[in-house]
């Protein structure tokens, strides 16, 4: 069997490294960190546990930062110069998903932006970016801020995600106020009597929470949550299969510097005022793509049979190659292979019959609406 080639330099550890080892995790290099790809149960069991109960994820490798200006308008305008989301009208205690854009409209990274609520937080925005991009992102942002807005990288906090249909009942025992949050809402709440930044969001398609916790307190919070019967630790392997089923993009795979947010089917994340007024990198291209369309667009594919198709596999229609898979694998919830990739818009309608080529074999595939597995976010009506 071919062995993975892991050219591991000195790897960083999250504040929960010892907890992973104690749980028998298989540790792998990921984005410069030594991270748990799976625990003793294995990826399938971890995936299914998260869909049925509550999974606990260490995502402390992700980049956290605070953007601070004199008031909300000043900070929001500084960030809006770099991303296409409407941050000016983002209410206190709300989050928005967006993308850092290059001048040509390519995606430098995707990120979550939170406007924290409460006294003392005016002019403050919280950013969470991808681990593999955080140095690039923070240098990019810092170099483009007006003098009155400051970027403070937060490297003394862990980030813990609790995801799944039983996440809320677990949180109720540790942070009753968290149940007052709706999907994409956030606040500083008491978790086991300590104030922590809690957001109701995640990367699995399930209801769930992300808790930004001081590094020193992270092992205690992790242990308390792990004591709950509904909770098991979940590694990066299942995190990937969960997000794929939820139709969510993985940076460096489904989106990168060569894709625009419109090609990536992320137009929903660009609010009306920004579409009309522009004022972000690549605005001309994005406004043109919104009215005239693109030459390719990200779609979901269901693949017939059991053979998974992976990133890089060709997508063909009637014998002609029309695109490439950017993510693909086995979807445990469906018991079938699924994939995402880019195809010309003429082939993007759900139900379109295509084929995916894997090692010389053409596997029949059908364009599928995303997500593959219905999301169960806790939206306030």
């Amino acid at each position: 069997m071919a062995q993975p080639d892991e050219n591991a330099g000195p790897l960083r550890k999250t504040p929960l490294h010892a907890e992973h080892l104690a749980l028998g995790a298989r540790m792998v290099p990921f984005a410069g960190y030594e991270m748990p790809v799976q625990y003793a149960d294995g990826i399938l069991a971890e995936h299914n546990w998260t869909r049925a109960h509550a999974g606990l994820f260490d995502v402390s490798h992700m980049g956290q930062a605070i953007l601070q200006g004199r008031d909300h308008a000043a900070t929001a305008r500084a960030l809006e110069a770099l991303i296409p989301a409407d941050i000016l009208t983002l209410a206190e205690g709300r989050q928005r998903y967006s993308q850092l854009l290059a001048e040509d409209g390519g995606i430098i990274d995707d990120l979550m932006v939170t406007r924290p609520a409460g006294h003392g937080n005016d002019g403050r925005l919280l950013l969470v970016v991808n681990a593999a991009r955080k140095e690039v992102d923070f240098a990019h942002i810092a170099a483009r801020l007006p003098a009155s807005v400051r970027l403070d990288v937060v490297d003394d906090r862990a980030l813990i995600a609790l995801q799944g249909p039983e996440a809320a009942m677990v949180m109720e025992r540790h942070c009753p106020d968290a149940l007052g949050l709706g999907f994409m809402e956030a606040g500083v709440l008491l978790v086991d009597d300590f104030p922590m930044q809690v957001a109701r969001s995640g990367y699995t398609g399930e209801d769930g929470f992300e808790i930004s916790v001081p590094a020193l307190q992270a092992p205690v919070l992790w242990a308390r949550l792990m004591e709950e019967p509904e909770v098991r630790a979940i590694g990066l392997g299942a995190r990937d299969s969960l997000r794929l089923e939820a139709g969510l993009c993985l940076y460096g795979h489904d989106i990168d510097l060569t894709t625009s947010p419109i090609e990536a089917a992320l137009a929903w994340s660009i609010q009306k005022r920004r579409r009309l007024d522009g004022g972000f990198p690549g605005a001309a291209r994005i406004q043109r793509e919104l009215t005239e369309g693109t030459s390719r667009i990200r779609v979901g594919l269901r693949i017939e049979g059991r053979q998974p198709a992976r990133e890089g596999a060709e997508i063909a229609a009637a014998g002609t190659v029309i695109g490439t898979l950017t993510s693909g694998g086995y979807a445990p919830t469906l018991g079938a292979p699924v994939a995402m990739g880019y195809v010309p818009p003429a082939y993007a309608a759900p139900g379109t019959a295509l084929e995916v080529r894997v090692r010389g074999r053409a596997l029949p595939a059908t364009v599928s609406a995303l997500p593959f597995v219905p999301t169960r976010y806790h939206r306030k009506s």
């Binding site: 069997m1 071919a2 062995q3 993975p4 790809v37 799976q38 294995g42 990826i43 399938l44 069991a45 995936h47 392997g237 990937d240 299969s241 059991r306 053979q307 998974p308 992976r310 694998g329 086995y330 445990p332 292979p337 090692r359």
Partner: protein, 125 residues
Amino acid sequence: MTSVRYTKDHEYVRLDGDVAVVGISEFAQSQLGDVVFVELPDVGKTVEKGKEAAVVESVKAASEVYAPLSGEVVEVNEELEGNPGLVNEDAEGKGWFLKLKLASAAELDDLMDADAYKAFLETLG
């Protein structure tokens, strides 16, 4: 006499008369994790020692399986099509991949026996 031999790439071969049963070792399956698909060669195909003979897919990734010896594929484990998890449950038993009619049984001597393989695994840390 049953003699099981192993490669450094973690395939095993178990001689059954003049036919060699080939699969991946217990260690290999534990490293791969949940197997969701096995791509097997066509019966009648000739495989060459050290070249790709099959592909095993876990949730995470596809891994090539190399032929431990040269020979002709005389049978493949069709049960793996509907139940690839057999590789995890019983890698060196019901989870076998294919049977080879060996070109040269002498090649078997190049492979590790169970004790040598065990010692080899210990060197991997």
